[in-house]
């Protein structure tokens, strides 16, 4: 019942070789990639820490899967090709909803935000994995697959395959894949949008392997070459401290809960969208997008001459008090 092999463990040498290649190709001007040493160090340490946490918590998660499997509805053979095909789609759909939940509800965002805190987008960003996923409990979302009758080892292998697939899409070195591939699969272009903090790109492209789920559920946004992605989170972290990176949102939740004055506030701070506040004074993806749309509409109206253009402040006009 235990996984015969772990795709992620097997892929680690490939991860290292791919990062070395990306760095060397960028160094010699053959590919686009930006690396900041402290940022890359944080990403790699996050990956290492995730592996250690996985060793400590993986057994409990697997035991829970086994318990659920013992109460399964059907018995699905691990050796059947059709079972792997069905699991491929079922696991990828599960991943889509896990990922969407991890962005749209603060409790789960607190665990997932680590993966987005880099202001760079390169192959080390793929390894910037959470340390607190076990606490957040998102692994529960995969239990229904075992309840249906997929052996836990089979589910674990498919989860690993998905994670390995998602490694290569964390790059600026690949601009676009062939159109048919972009239509069906998650690609570097689609995932760049997912990691962007530009308001227009927020909360989009949650796909794991197949981008079809985003197209189906209305969360797909294509990359617009006219607006390059700016990476990171809405409020980028003030330092490269590893522990700040891991725990900052959990600490933020703790502070907010400590000053909550009603059950509504407790629920809002825990399970509202990231940035939720009782008086609406903080920024959520929704408010940022609404303001972006308003700016776009105003710019379009100005272009048409329907409203006078706002005076644009220019350089030296504003500069005062410089020493």
């Amino acid at each position: 019942m235990k996984p015969a092999f772990d795709p992620v463990q097997m892929a680690i040498p490939f991860f290292v070789i791919a990062i070395v290649l990306e760095v060397l190709l960028a160094r010699f001007g053959k590919a686009k990639a930006n690396y900041e040493p402290r940022d890359a160090a944080t990403s790699l340490m996050m990956g290492l820490g995730n592996s250690i946490v996985g060793i400590l918590t993986g057994g409990a998660v697997f035991a829970a899967s086994l318990w659920v499997y013992e109460h399964r509805l059907f018995t699905i053979p691990m050796t059947a090709v059709w079972a792997w095909v069905v699991l491929f789609f079922a696991e990828d759909l599960t991943y889509y909803w896990f990922h969407r939940l991890s962005h749209e509800r603060r409790f789960w965002w607190a665990s997932h935000v680590n993966h987005h805190s880099s202001t760079h987008y390169n192959l080390t960003t793929a390894l910037r994995q959470t340390w607190t996923g076990g606490v957040a409990g998102t692994w529960l979302l995969w239990l229904p697959l075992s309840f249906l009758g997929f052996p836990p080892a089979m589910v674990a292998i498919q989860k690993g395959v998905s994670l390995v697939y998602q490694f290569w899409i964390h790059t600026e070195a690949v601009r676009r894949m062939p159109a048919w591939f972009e239509a069906v699969f998650n690609t570097p272009s689609h995932h760049r949008v997912h990691h962007a903090r530009n308001p227009r790109y927020l909360d989009a492209n949650y796909a794991g392997i197949l981008i079809i789920w985003d197209r189906l559920f209305g969360t797909f946004i294509p990359e617009d070459d006219a607006e390059p992605c700016r990476y990171g989170i809405v409020r980028n972290l003030p330092n490269f401290n590893l522990l700040t990176n891991v725990f900052h949102e959990w600490i933020g939740i703790g502070r907010d809960l400590a000053r909550s004055r009603s059950p509504r506030e407790v629920m809002g701070y825990l399970f509202g969208p990231p940035g939720w506040s009782p008086d609406g004074s903080r920024e959520t993806s929704h408010t940022l997008k609404a303001r972006w749309r308003a700016r776009e509409e105003r710019a379009a109206a100005e272009l048409k001459g329907e409203i006078p253009a706002l005076r644009q402040a220019q350089g030296e006009d504003l500069l005062q008090g410089r020493n």
Partner: protein, 124 residues
């Protein structure tokens, strides 16, 4: 397992060394007037900027937008943006040629140089 962990740590150190050697950070020139306006437009697109003060080492800025201070400071090869009450920012003390903005998460310290703080034109 210990050997695997030590091996992983060595691999991490080697990769970071390679990244440092390759010098692939984004070009981040010192902030000038044009750069300041561009950054402010990116980070605070809805705030009207009344005046801007650039740090003496061009590693950050403070802009006034009514009762609000818009603050940007360099981190690695990018900038971090935060806003705070103008009154809190203007009350910051100067220590060894830098103002430490304790009212802001991360408490950035911006170089003042030999000039006065707060600069009279911006504070007015």
């Amino acid at each position: 397992m210990v050997i695997q962990l030590v091996g992983s740590a060595v691999a991490v150190a080697a990769l970071v060394g390679l990244v440092a050697w390759a010098r692939l950070a984004r070009p981040t020139p010192p902030l000038d007037a044009e750069g300041a306006v561009r950054l402010l437009a990116e980070e605070f697109p809805d705030d009207r900027v009344d005046a801007v003060w650039l740090a003496a080492d061009s590693g950050g800025l403070i802009a006034r937008s009514g009762d609000l201070a818009l603050v940007l400071w360099r981190r690695g090869d990018g900038y971090v943006a935060r806003s705070a009450s103008w009154a809190d920012v203007i009350a910051a003390d100067v220590d060894e040629g830098r103002i430490k903005l304790r009212a802001i998460e991360g408490a950035p310290a911006l170089a003042v140089g030999d000039g006065p703080w707060p600069p009279t034109e911006v504070a007015a």
